[in-house]
């Protein structure tokens, strides 16, 4: 237990830069390989999805957070527990839709994008799109079909990075979509 506590503490600071640089190298390589922003976005989401379906198991084993009663609980757990555990940040949950099925996560600082500046002519690239995939994949494994996308991006000149999650439907007999 104490070792796990140390892992979630400050020693992460050094590994954080390596993580940022690794992710940066990944995106840069994808850009070179595909040369098309939308294609890169899709690939990032696919990769994120594959991460998500696995990370949810790790999360549930470690977080011990219990059942969520509704989508609001889900939002709180995602922002206060999950993001904190894996990225060390706590995004703010806001912009709830009146029906309570959509919300936004506002990220003040994003460890994936430290030092990054988007090159000219690549405005449609969602640099942190892997996050969308991770959220979608993870929630799908707990029987929720959600649509996740970036609404605002700090890298594109907006003040804040905003991710929008929309609950689509509950999944029964959840079998993950076949991975091609």
């Amino acid at each position: 237990m104490s070792r796990q506590a140390a892992r979630t503490g400050d020693p992460r600071k050094v590994n954080g830069e390596l993580f940022t640089l690794t992710y940066g190298a990944l995106v840069a390589q994808l850009m070179k390989d595909y040369e098309n922003d939308d294609e890169v976005n899709k690939q990032l989401e696919k990769m994120g999805y594959n991460i998500g379906v696995r990370i949810i198991e790790d999360f549930l084993a470690r977080a011990n957070s219990g059942r969520c009663n509704d989508f609001r609980d889900v939002a709180d757990v995602i922002s206060k527990v999950a993001f904190k555990m894996y990225l060390g940040i706590t995004p703010v949950v806001s912009n709830w839709s009146p029906a309570g099925d959509e919300f936004s996560l506002l990220l003040e600082n994003n460890p994936l994008t430290d030092f990054v500046e988007l090159p000219e002519g690549h405005d449609s690239l969602n640099y942190s799109n892997i996050l969308c995939g991770v959220l979608k994949g993870a929630l799908e494994m707990i029987q929720m079909d959600v649509d996740v996308k970036f609404v605002q991006d700090h890298l594109k000149g907006d003040n804040i990075t905003e991710v929008r999650l929309k609950f689509i439907k509950r999944l029964e007999d959840a079998v993950p979509v076949g991975e091609d």
Binding site: T20, V27, E117
Partner: protein, 141 residues
């Protein structure tokens, strides 16, 4: 207000310029020439500094050479990337310490910019953030 440079240049290890910014004047070319000639002095200093150039004092090369109007300072990183700063001779209030701080900030900004995955080392520097740091230490008319 007092640490104002007139020209800032970043030179790659192969001695071609990655970035040059000067205060807008008529004879900008004069600055390019000054920076270019200062490279000889830099090379001389690098070859005479010892093998363990890890100390900040040894990264900082100090006053390279004074002309009648300007003073040129140099700084080299462990990867042989050079920073050259030109200040006006009339700016006597500029102390050595301030120049060192300037170089440290430049070096910091350079490293941050290098960490951008979309920047390939050896390319011309077009980063907005880096430019802002440089503008912040240059003389504004």
């Amino acid at each position: 207000m007092s640490n104002m440079a007139v020209c800032v240049a970043v030179i790659a290890k192969e001695n071609y310029p990655l970035f040059i910014k000067t205060t807008p004047t008529d004879n900008e070319l004069q600055f390019y020439y000054t920076v270019h000639t200062s490279l000889d002095v830099v090379e001389e200093k690098i070859s005479s500094v010892g093998k363990n150039a890890n100390d900040l004092r040894e990264l900082y090369l100090g006053l390279l050479y004074p002309t009648e109007d300007y003073k040129v300072y140099g700084y080299v990183t462990n990867t042989k990337v050079k920073f050259v700063v030109v200040v006006e001779s009339s700016n006597t209030s500029l102390r050595d310490n301030e120049i060192r701080t300037m170089f440290k900030r430049l070096h910091g900004a350079y490293v941050d910019m290098l960490s951008n995955p979309f920047y390939n080392p050896g390319e011309n520097i077009v980063s907005r953030k880096f430019e802002n740091v440089v503008m912040g230490m240059m003389k504004q008319d």
